[in-house]
């Protein structure tokens, strides 16, 4: 099978696009960085919405980005079952776009936090398929608004459908039930606050994120096989 092409949308204010592109290339994919006015996603096998400050995080993180022309195209792909991953600001955007339930509010300590953070794998998903449940990882977080919140019925659904993908082992931001990452019911859209791409090479002192990104590339390949050519 040919290499998979991963779209990396860039909104004004996005800043992790080059990092994600680097990681995609590292794990065998073709990275295609697309500006947010792009509406044609033909030939795209997977999407990673990178971190940053889309539209300056003005109004509310992700609140303006959800209206960008590229978003309906991404949603359409997600409906076909194409794997979509949102990292940090990408997670916030996916929540605002209602492609994932819940919201991310300011950290409990009211400070930006950039540090290595302990995680535990809770369920299998496009980013955890290579990792067994209960696996402990250390991945950096880098956010001011990473405190996951949702109403009780949403939370009960998340638990019931096994949609909680990752939990913090030492909840750094006050997230409900220490949630660090979730997926949608169909399990092809995933959002997480930690940055696996920042922990995917030995030279950076941590490669715990490599298996997460390899899992995602696996998911992209499976989705391509399942989709009509």
């Amino acid at each position: 099978m040919s290499q998979s092409t991963i779209a990396i949308p860039v909104f004004p204010g996005t800043n992790c696009e080059a990092d994600v592109a680097h990681a995609v290339t590292l794990f065998g994919g073709i990275a295609k960085v697309l500006y947010h006015d792009e509406t044609n996603l033909e030939g795209i096998d997977g999407v990673i919405i990178p971190g940053g400050f889309a539209h300056g995080d003005y109004l509310r993180t992700g609140a303006i980005a959800r209206f960008s022309p590229i978003m309906p195209a991404i949603e359409k792909l997600s409906q076909k079952g194409v794997p979509i991953l949102g990292v940090c600001n990408g997670f916030q955007i996916l929540c605002e776009a209602k492609m994932l339930p819940g919201a991310l509010q300011k950290n409990v300590g009211m400070k930006f936090i950039c540090q290595e953070t302990g995680l535990e794998v809770v369920s299998s998903s496009p980013i955890t398929s290579r990792l067994s449940q209960g696996t402990r990882l250390t991945i950096p977080i880098n956010h001011f608004e990473g405190n996951y919140t949702c109403d009780d019925s949403t939370y009960e659904n998340l638990v019931k459908n096994n949609q909680i993908v990752l939990r913090y082992t030492d909840n750094p931001n006050g997230s409900r039930d220490s949630i660090a990452g979730i997926c949608n019911e169909r399990r092809n859209v995933v959002g997480l606050m930690p940055h696996p791409e920042r922990a995917s090479e030995e030279i950076l002192g941590n490669s715990d994120g490599a298996e997460m990104l390899r899992s995602f590339m696996d998911a992209v390949v499976s989705s391509r096989m399942a989709l009509p050519a």
Binding site: P12, G13, N15, C16, A18, D19, H22, A23, Y35, G52, F53, H55, G56, D57, Y58, K111, F112, I113, C114, Q115, P140, N142, F144, H195, E197, R198, E201, I203, L204, G205
Partner: protein, 755 residues
């Protein structure tokens, strides 16, 4: 000053110009008195901050040459070659006065300003480091300033997408009324994209990109940066600019795309003196003239006077010089990145800088020779050594402290107290608020001796450090500057990096005080001596005078940002953390070992400061043997034959060992033999001294690297277990649990902030 008095003061004096300066301006204008607009522009451009009128004669003496130097001082940023057709742009700048008035915005716009300097050269900004100075944290306002500055750096730097990968902070009472916020930035560029801010080509257009111009930051350079502080400083708040990192991020992308696609002849950032400076300087640099149509400048508010528009320091603005053929493409790019753009001027051959009211056939509001604004006066201010210095240097701080502790055998309490000093304690509370990992480049993260990054597209690794201990320069400006520069080089050597370029931010008091000018010139001399001996040219810098509050000057505080390279980023990089059973070796210049050399001293040390002992002589270094020691450390670090290395810096040997212990959670058992007192042996400070951790099997090989007679290497003990033990001349001076040390060192800063 009352309103009536203000009215009686001539305008030029209100704007900070002297009578002689007014006379000089009149001469430049062929005996015509400047009008109010011209006067306003001259007042800012001829301010100390913009014109370096007191410092220029000394700055000229810095060594600035080097084979690898592509751009030296005087441009937006210094640029050096790092191989593989890649170059590095480096710059440091202060935002002291704005931060003292409004800490969040002051620091934020300091970050924004320096980042614009970097991308104006065609370089992508990839890293910032901050050097911060505050008063003691027992003061509530200092805590407010500290939290505000850190939040400002975090809020702006993270959002603009430039990681803050290192820095340093010192708390000392001399900065209580006048904190220092120095920001250093690095950018990377393919050599082919190097762009200088030059307006060439008759008929080319000046396009203003970015934010609308408002009344924020009017006179920031002249009002704030070029005068000291007193109780009226609060009223200067309107002179502080407000930052918008989102607009800056879009400007970065737009300008880099502009330069990458060859659409701009030159790009210049708008900093101090705003549009007047950017337009006149680019035209002067290209030996051209420029006409500006003031009506075309997009404004944030109505009713602004021409003078306000021309000297406004509104943030996030850039000036691009483009050919008429490329204009549409440039405007298209601006539209793509959602930034405003207006054609505000035209380059011509007139050698004049002219401002028009509304269209190039309308009233001329100002007309001056194009170079005049940038060609400010140069002063040879009185320069006299402070006579009190001789008496202060005679004070034997080592002896005072030795006597204070003459009956003390156990220094556990003093060790814990030193480790709990905010200057010494872990700075994780600060750097965990900064994105320090963006761009997947940070190989050695904040909290180490120097930061180390890989540059995508280049083989070399780049090391960066920023250092500046004012206390030493207060005791002796020449030796203090030497010690700081060596300290920076020592930090780089810990990560295996050869120094390649130095930028300095010279923070001093009032240059109208002759003893301040003397400390300034002595610091310049000391810096130059180390730069020459280490082949580290000065590629840029910034001078910040008038750092005084209520007539009291800060300690002279030169801050040196030193950048260097290692041939390859690959390979094992020893950290601060040692391994269980490592042999610990103290490596220092032989000259530091002999007692009485003055290399290691308690004068200016953290221990002395705790007792408010502020006299004595700064460390006196033998430059050559200090550099040789750094060279040897660099080699063993680069070769990866050692497992750990840490330089002995603030807080002395005890602190160095304790920090290595905190990093590894492993204890140590060390014995020091010396003929000096325990206080000096444990807490004495002086750069180019290191502790390394070596595996027993590699010890002989490593020791051979220190065979030069200028270098001393002594096995002092071993790492291991969970206790930190230091014996001095067979008395057990320190015996503490690792966990106790770690708890105090890790939490002291956060506790001091939240007291």
């Amino acid at each position: 000053m009352t309103a009536t008095m203000e009215n009686q003061t001539p305008l030029h004096r209100q704007l900070g110009l002297t009578d002689d300066e007014l006379e000089a301006i009149t001469q430049v204008l062929d005996s015509r008195a400047p009008n109010d607009l011209e006067l306003a522009m001259f007042s800012v451009m001829w301010s100390e901050h913009c014109s370096y009128k007191s410092s220029r004669q000394y700055l000229k003496t810095f060594p600035t040459q080097g084979e690898h130097v592509l751009v030296g001082p005087g441009e937006g940023a210094g640029v050096i070659d790092i191989g593989d057709d890649m170059a590095l742009a480096i710059r440091i700048e202060s935002h002291n006065h704005p931060s003292a008035v409004e800490p969040y915005q002051g620091a934020a716009t300091g970050v924004g300003g320096i980042i614009r300097d970097i991308f104006s050269m065609g370089a992508r900004p990839i890293a910032c480091l901050d050097s911060l100075r505050f008063g003691n944290l027992d003061d509530a306002r200092t805590r407010y300033l500290t939290e505000g500055v850190v939040s400002g750096i975090s809020g702006y730097g993270n959002a603009v997408g430039v990681p803050t990968i290192g820095g340093e902070v010192i708390f000392d009472k001399c900065y209580k009324g006048n904190p220092l916020v120095n920001v250093m930035a690095l950018g990377v560029l393919p050599k082919s994209r190097l762009t200088l801010a030059k307006a060439s080509g008759d008929g080319n257009l000046a396009v203003l990109l970015g934010s609308a111009t408002g009344r924020d930051g009017i006179g920031g350079a002249s009002v704030l940066a070029s005068a000291g502080f007193d109780e009226t400083s609060e009223t200067k708040r309107p002179s502080v600019q407000v930052g918008d990192p989102f607009t800056e991020k879009k400007l970065i992308e737009a300008c880099l795309e502009l330069l990458e696609s060859g659409l701009a002849v030159g790009v210049q950032d708008l900093g101090a003196a705003g549009i007047s400076c950017a337009t006149s300087e680019t035209a002067a640099a290209g030996s051209m003239g420029i006409d500006v149509d003031i009506a075309k400048i997009h404004l944030r508010e109505t009713g602004m006077t021409p003078a306000e528009i021309m000297i406004s320091e509104s943030q996030e603005r850039m000036l691009a010089i483009v050919t008429p053929q490329n204009l549409d493409a440039v405007l298209g790019l601006a539209k793509k990145w959602e930034i405003d753009a207006s054609v505000i001027g035209k380059v011509n051959n007139s050698q004049r800088f002219r401002i028009f009211r509304d269209g190039f056939d309308s009233e001329i509001l100002a007309d001056v020779p194009v170079g005049a604004l940038g060609d400010g006066p140069e002063y040879n201010r009185p320069n006299i050594r402070d006579t009190q210095l001789d008496d202060r240097q005679k004070v034997d701080t080592n002896n005072i402290l030795a006597e204070k502790f003459s009956n003390t055998k156990n220094f556990n309490n003093e060790t814990l107290k030193v480790l709990a000093q905010p200057t010494i304690a872990s700075k994780a509370w600060i750097y965990s608020q900064y994105d320090h990992q963006l761009f997947l480049q940070t190989v050695v993260k904040p909290g180490a001796d120097a930061s180390l990054i890989r540059v995508h597209g280049a083989k070399a690794g780049v090391g960066i450090t920023v250092d500046g201990k004012g206390r030493w320069c207060a005791l002796d400006p020449y030796h203090g500057a030497v010690a700081i520069a060596i300290e920076a080089i020592a930090n780089l050597s810990c990560v295996g990096v050869v120094p390649k370029a130095l930028v300095n931010n010279l923070n001093f008091g009032n240059p109208e005080h002759p003893e301040v000018m003397n400390t300034f010139s002595e610091v310049v001399r000391g810096t130059s001596d180390v730069c020459l001996a280490s082949s580290t040219p000065v590629v840029g810098g910034n001078v910040s005078f008038y750092n005084e509050s209520n007539g009291v000057n800060i300690d002279p505080t030169p801050v040196f940002g030193v950048v260097g390279t290692r041939e390859s980023i690959e390979g094992k990089i020893p950290g601060v953390a040692f391994n269980e059973d490592d042999v610990l070796v103290l490596v220092e210049p032989m000259s530091a070992k002999s007692s009485g050399s003055g290399h290691v001293t308690l004068a200016g040390s953290e221990l002395a400061t705790m007792f408010d002992l502020r006299d004595g002589m700064a460390p006196v270094l033998d430059i050559n043997s200090s550099l040789k020691t750094c060279d040897a450390i660099r080699k063993v670090s680069y070769d990866g034959v050692i497992s750990a290395v840490h330089d002995i810096s603030d807080g002395g040997l005890v602190t160095c060992l304790a920090e290595m212990s905190c990093a590894s959670s492993i204890g140590f058992d060390v014995a020091i033999e010396s003929n000096s007192e325990t206080t000096l042996a444990l807490f004495g400070e002086g750069p180019a001294r290191f502790v390394i951790g070596v595996h027993q099997d590699d010890l002989a090989k490593v020791m051979k690297e220190f065979s030069d007679p200028a270098i001393s290497a002594t096995v002092i003990g071993r790492a291991g277990n969970d206790r930190c033990k230091i014996a001095h001349d067979s008395d057990l001076a320190v015996d503490l649990e690792v966990s106790e040390i770690k708890e105090i060192w890790s939490s002291a800063l956060s506790q001091a902030i939240h007291q």
